[in-house]
Subunit: 361 residues, 4 copies
């Protein structure tokens, strides 16, 4: 299976950046779940390009639901989201039809598809394809929220500027979800935007780190082999374009710890087993322990930069240089944040439905 | 699907630490591939506990192949590896039947399986279950090697001591595969072992980082959604007990880079497109670009330590303390290294067979 | 996975009979395969209702491809087919919102989806959903044909009237594929249509049997367990609404044979191993033997009839009677025939790509 | 996935007829389910060859459980069943190493595996591999029975002799499950055995039909696309060697019915919706309706017969003749019956756990 992911809840993605439409099919949603089209639109707007820190390409990103919803609720059969492409200026991409952009999938797509790929705007490799995830994820996020499970992602780092880490997770998630530029420490926003603008001024781009937290997950979800919660989440997260690292809880910091620091001691508080620390990020032996799930994704800098780059001509294999024009984001980490929330919701909802047969835990 | 992973090539794991036997079923191997039982035994020995830095539990780890091999070659039908458990001292685990060990899966297993799990020695959550992966992986490693694809993992960091990074990957892999304690820089071995022994003396344990490289992968393997090479590798890697972070190429270091540093420029050398740098770790848009695949796994410290720890009694939920006895590893990163090689081989062989229908690229 | 089927080639179906649109996503098609929109339209017309023997509902069934095709060829990424619903007269279905139609899925859908299902026109259970299979199947049929593999289905029986069985399969398939009412023996058409009209005059409906043949399949495709060619074909065929029986080769007639009659002796003719008889329907041990694949599907009579029927009211569980109005087919076997061809093509193409990594055998 | 089948409950089969051992891994069983080794042994004995009507090869078929059971109950992790091969007389198979037996998989295996297959006794294609299904199925049957769901199969036809059809299904299943030769009408046994002995006397074999019923399945299980209950059951059933036809309810008899006869009217009796007739075999729109599930499997005559047959020599492709010796069954339909029960239990338990997250409906 390629463009489909999930078991009880599965999402199928389709579309190319400059084709007719992109979208998603969300299958397996239990019947009778309310579908709030306003919330979907709101989530779509969080993914949109905004202001000077984003690409000049502006898409309405209106989501049309063509199946699976009846009288405002899920029917239990596949929900199809269609998002038409409108602001496509394919003329910008002339040279890019044959010169592989460094950091992009142009070369690998050419090898894999033998030249038949839709190269315009990155085709099916475009970050634009994540719009389908956001639409489908909005339905999942609502369903989880109605069951007490909330998800939030902040920009932990962007262009070398750091936000504070999560503190009280339930409260912090509440701070994030309406923000266009999701940071916990308000002062981080201006500094990060300044770093983005500085890179933009240089015809360059910046990377960053997203940190996601999930509050309210029941304990006992996941498998020891091979579908650990880390496995299924990372599988989905690493398919978000530009994500090159995923770590849970203390993650790479575990490498420098001793077991006595690393282990999270258990404690019974009010008949609920909790841990004071949460180095394990809410997952032990691949299975949720009832504490918040916390993970971080490394996001590489947008590969489309305006500086001249060395590359090869795919038509004859010769070395050449490339000067990218067109409309591009000097940073994508702020736009990728809602994608992280959405894909996390889809994965966790799938895990819950696999475990309980329904969404009610 | 739970204990089965893969598409064209799939591995199923079974067994508990103190049960009769553990093992694996390897399905989908093309027919006619030589199976070298000596190489399997050699790989098993790399996973074994050795000397003072490992647990005192010594298992023969003899692998019995009960199906799928005929006249020394794969038949094309499932290959079953059985490894009997012998040196089980279940009497050591008395108290652990009801007190959850911090950092272990005891609590989460108890929630998930409602008390029916085989708690002895961690049961199905034990690192011992990885022996099945090593047996199956040995067959995959041989098959890949015969096709020019080699894999090696070194201990990049252990107990705060760092090995050098990969340099010339083809040569470096050659240095690693026979080593019991796999480091590139010989002097790192003693320092790491000293760090492990220091922790052991304190009744404590250490974590580390494994770095894996794959040389010889053809370009064009993987999918844009959702089965990116990063996705399928991380899915498998995160199911290795204690792995809590996975990053490809520059990974989390991408967060501080600009696009102009991050992008790997393409260059045609002798009619082969290469990149001078390899920040992307050999994967662009989820698809191999023909350069070495490079990734790192964060390994948390062994959770079994001899210091007293705070926990809860699973029988009545009351707070209590726990003093682990038994036989345990003060570090597992050196033993996990062959597991990383093995699971990487299984995943990549699956990708190759999915793409070409056979192992010959 | 629910509405998605296949491995290397997978199809996802969506839509409801009276919703905005129905369609399919076809994933995994190798890149560079020509897509002939005229052929798709022609296949769609074979599924359409025609004349007095079919429902009065007339749908344009225009297929819009919104992704995965570029410059007339497959890109290698998902192909999405959208078919808008136009001639929906939902007012006809008033009483059917709460009275379960015997032979239909109304009752079982109500149990499964708890009343949230889109009941209009059978919703997602409608035979109309097969239009997506026909669109996707057309692409698969073309690709197979270009590789020498042809598929044809005839109406072996309808309303008690029998067509002749397949004789020279290659020639017979050639006779069938342009026919609107696919029979091998021309005289069978009028008799079958007369049987349909007679049932219609009685407010009743008829069932039948479809017989499908595949010529040109290479030997060696399929698995002994569990993905025998019979298994994967029957899995797909039994999801066509109204199919209640599937048999391969001699099928149920095997029950009365002795081994000496049943076994197909092998014979080498011109360096190709053939069998004189083909009782096994081209499949031995779950694997193709290079002879034509032949199977039959039993199709139950259209459950929508105009006679009064006994049923229950889903709102209160009370016994009641039901008189179906609306527009319905007195037979569907002739319309299901192109669905059988299409789904067979999708399944076999998947098997070929799984085996060879591409479509070229 | 090849030798693994199922979603929430999955079974993996391994082994060859004359290898060291055969067996199965049963994954996904909920934890805490009692495992009755006596019942497993009893089911194994129903599959064994008995008396003059079966092969002279006698296997102890002792099932050793090496994982997944602790204190007599399932742990929730994979259950592995190992059955050693003992009575293997491979010397009987000399000529069969290179002459393809008509009706067997020798030729197709040779094409698929290029000569590396274990040809002895049919290798992985042997009916002997079904022993693993019977062992795993026994656990599933017990679990279903404890939840009020019972399954039974009778020999509807063998060698041209017919048993009566199911009447009162709950009672009839009770009549069948301890019988070694499962018929409903006692007089049918002798007649069928006589037909088998007559064929044996001629060096020939007979086929038959198995009819299976399931009582107690809840309504609302299954999917409209593609995992209809018919689809998943037929997928599994067609992987039983020798099954060449599967029909549900009226099956192929539907072809001659009119809708008014075919439709099963609904009726509320004691607040439960039932149907007086059960032509649909308990499945409407792919979903269970709460009535008994009823289906039939056509079983082809054992292909191993003692009459001389025409075939080809696989080593040089030349036409030759073959006289099979060795030990073979003149009929397998009576031995396949417990395999049908077992695989049905595995499939339906998977469906139930997928739907409810656990076995309790």
């Amino acid at each position: 299976m390629k463009n489909t992911f999930g078991n009880s809840i599965a999402v199928t993605l389709f579309g190319e950046s400059h084709g007719n439409a992109i979208g998603a099919v969300l299958d397996g949603m239990p019947a009778g779940i309310p579908v709030d089209e306003n919330f979907i639109a709101q989530q779509m707007s969080l993914r949109k390009s905004v202001g000077a820190i984003s690409t000049a390409r502006k898409e309405a990103d209106e989501v049309k639901i063509v199946s699976g919803v009846f009288n405002g609720k899920t029917t239990g059969t596949p929900i199809t989201f269609i998002i038409e492409n409108q602001d496509t200026r394919s003329r910008d991409y002339g040279e890019l039809a044959y010169k592989a952009r460094p950091g992009h999938a142009d070369l690998t797509a050419n090898v894999k598809y033998g030249g038949s790929q839709d190269f315009r705007g990155g085709g099916h490799f475009s970050g634009r394809i994540t719009a389908g995830i956001v639409a489908a994820g909005a339905v999942a996020l609502s369903a989880l929220k109605a069951n007490g499970i909330i998800i939030g992602t902040h920009i932990l780092s962007c262009g070398g500027v750091y936000d504070r880490e999560f503190d009280d997770i339930q409260t912090d998630i509440g701070l994030l979800n309406d923000k266009e530029f999701a940071v916990l420490e308000p002062s981080a926003e201006e500094k990060m935007k300044a770093a983005i603008m500085a890179a933009k001024a240089d015809g360059d781009s910046v990377g960053g780190i997203l940190e996601t937290a999930v509050y309210g997950m029941p304990a006992g979800i996941g498998e020891p082999w091979f579908d650990t919660v880390e496995s299924v989440l990372s599988h989905a997260l690493f398919s978000i374009p530009a994500v090159k690292g995923v770590e849970f809880g203390a993650g790479f910091r575990y490498a420098e710890m001793r077991g006595s620091q690393a282990n999270d001691p258990f404690r019974n508080v009010d008949n609920k087993v909790i841990t004071d620390t949460n180095n394990c990020g809410g997952i032990l032996g691949g299975i949720t322990n009832g504490m918040p799930i916390v993970f971080r994704c490394a996001v590489k800098p947008t590969p489309s930069i305006y500086k001249e780059q060395q590359t090869v001509d795919l038509t004859n294999g010769e070395n050449t240089t490339l000067q990218i024009k067109g409309r591009h984001d000097p940073a994508i980490v702020h736009r990728a944040r809602v994608v992280a929330d959405s894909i996390t919701a889809l994965v966790l909802l799938d895990q819950i439905v696999l475990r309980y047969g329904n969404i009610n835990k």
